[in-house]
Symmetry: C2
Subunit: 342 residues, 2 copies
């Protein structure tokens, strides 16, 4: 438990002032190359490590990025985290992560903690029941950049990173139509959340553009849990005429719905074709394998951190960039393939 080495100790060791040591360690141009060399050597030799608090205190910057995420243990969110971590570490930033457990209440508390931790910037994917984003006001007021990803909210002082959910849902629905489906059910989440609202839109537009009627009765709204998938299957089985296609806003829910339908004797995709959303690993495992929308979580994390750092370094201005849209893709698998491949 030896005492920490400070720049004063180094200064004594090399016969320079602490100022020069500090400058050398920060690679300041106005320090003689040889001096730098010597100071570096002594510093490593003495086992020096810079004290980030002192430095942060002085510089008023933390080199820390806060992340508020609904729930960590989801395939999508953990991919996002992985992407974020990679870029952040490369750029010399630390990531502090907190989860809102999907509730606005915890999200508010987490925002406060992040504010008190004086993060340089904040990355947020909103909770299910977040009604407004007043709890981020302190950040906006102080000019701390806040960046939303996936589950976003509009704010003139923040950027959003998303995929084009309307287009993705449009593609998914169109694909079902092309496979001959005419009675397509859509299982959606809380429509207050941008992603689900937009997917519903895409579904609707696709129907309309292909001269199919949009029927409220074919839209099932729930929390997209595994059980919700099973319940949705029961609802579908009761519908008359029986639907011939289902587009679900979440893979896990889709998989469970599909399994429940299968158990009820429905043949997938022959009787009912199914499309999910997210490209979760389970989509490749389930039988039949699930057609889905590939959701670039890892890339989203990378882009989010990179953009944030650009704002921090004043390379770009947050009030100019409104939305960054990532590419998503329909991945066709067995669960929806009713026609022979072309």
């Amino acid at each position: 438990m030896d005492k920490d080495i400070t720049i004063y100790d180094i200064a004594k060791g090399v016969g320079f002032s602490p100022t020069t040591v500090s400058r050398a360690l920060n690679n300041h141009p106005a320090v003689n190359q040889k001096t730098k060399q010597r100071i570096y050597e002594i510093a490593t030799q003495m086992g020096y490590r810079s004290n980030m608090f002192a430095s942060n205190l002085r510089r008023q910057r933390t080199h820390t990025i806060g992340v508020i995420v609904p729930i960590l243990n989801s395939s999508f969110q953990s991919s996002v985290m992985a992407g974020m971590e990679k870029v952040a570490t490369e750029a010399g930033y630390n990531l502090i992560i907190s989860q809102s457990m999907g509730t606005a209440e915890k999200e508010v508390a987490n925002a406060k903690t992040m504010f008190n931790s004086r993060v340089d910037g904040l990355l947020v994917s909103l909770a299910h029941d977040t009604e407004n984003i007043d709890h981020f006001e302190p950040f906006f007021k102080k000019g701390i950049p806040v960046l939303f990803y996936d589950r976003v909210a509009e704010h003139k002082q923040s950027t959003s990173i998303v995929i084009d959910n309307v287009q993705a849902a449009y593609k998914a629905t169109t694909h079902l139509i092309e496979q001959g489906c005419r009675n397509i059910v859509h299982i959606s989440g809380n429509l207050k959340i941008n992603v689900y609202a937009n997917r519903l839109k895409g579904y609707k537009y696709a129907l309309i553009d292909h001269n199919l009627p949009f029927r409220e009765s074919l839209v099932i709204t729930n929390n997209l849990t595994e059980e919700d998938g099973i319940k949705a299957a029961e609802q579908i089985l009761k519908m008359k005429p029986r639907p011939d296609g289902v587009f679900v806003s979440n893979d896990f829910c889709a998989v469970n719905c599909m399994k429940a339908l299968k158990q009820a004797g429905i043949s997938i995709p022959h009787d009912i074709a199914v499309v999910g959303f997210n490209n979760d690993p389970i989509t490749r495992v389930v039988e039949p394998s699930l057609t889905t929308i590939d959701y670039p979580g890892y890339e989203m994390g990378e882009v989010a951190v990179r953009s944030l750092i650009n704002y921090l370094d004043a390379l770009s201005d947050i009030s100019i960039t409104n939305t960054i849209t990532l590419r998503s893709e329909l991945i066709v698998r067995e669960s929806s393939l009713r026609k022979l491949q072309k």
Copy 2:
């Protein structure tokens, strides 16, 4: 972008000294209740937030816990993170997370960053190819508690949190034997890692205790990836006599192996029974559903942080506690059930 409020500002506002303000805000007993009340009010009213750097600098404590994890986007690891985050936040600690991407090289770099970030304690799950733990020496030297979980290493100054992998594997293998399997293949990961080495042991012991021969040729060692599962299936199909049971050290690998076997016309569990490890969500989705060992990731995360905080608060001594073992459980599903349930 207004200026930050400090305890000095509050002091002026209430007519007390900064000292009293500081004490009041820290709920120091030697401050008059009414004074505290007034100071609290003014503080919140003025929008005060404590400056953690100044505080950290003064106290020489960061209230930050470092986590080094092989890879974030795995079902198990993200569950662990979720558990960690919950307990840490409740206790007023921040979590900074970094991933080693499974390589010792990055692990060394991350350890250094964590050290420089002056984390109060460190939680580590080791990379695949970590040969020694010298890179944690600086922590040991400075008395910073290091706690290993899941993929652990022995060190007299650190605690390990694990499940009893020997016993779990023993249970899994015994279950296969009880289902009538006599020729059981074991698919394992890198045997330098404690978890895989111990599972191999458990497999071996179970065979021996049931008077079955242990054969090296029935142990397949790979990286437990999805492709490795498929390759392993090919190996199994070539074995003579054909094995009638497979115990895989990882669910994802197991699932892919099972699917490959099915495609080759093998009936599961009739021809070959399969057991996995981890209780990943896919085990419930795959057909037939996969028998596996439930691995308490979330709980492991909770326990890890709680233990660490206990050390930090000197409630317990790290050099005394060697290992904390969590309960794990065999979950029997269709993939191994060859006999009727009792």
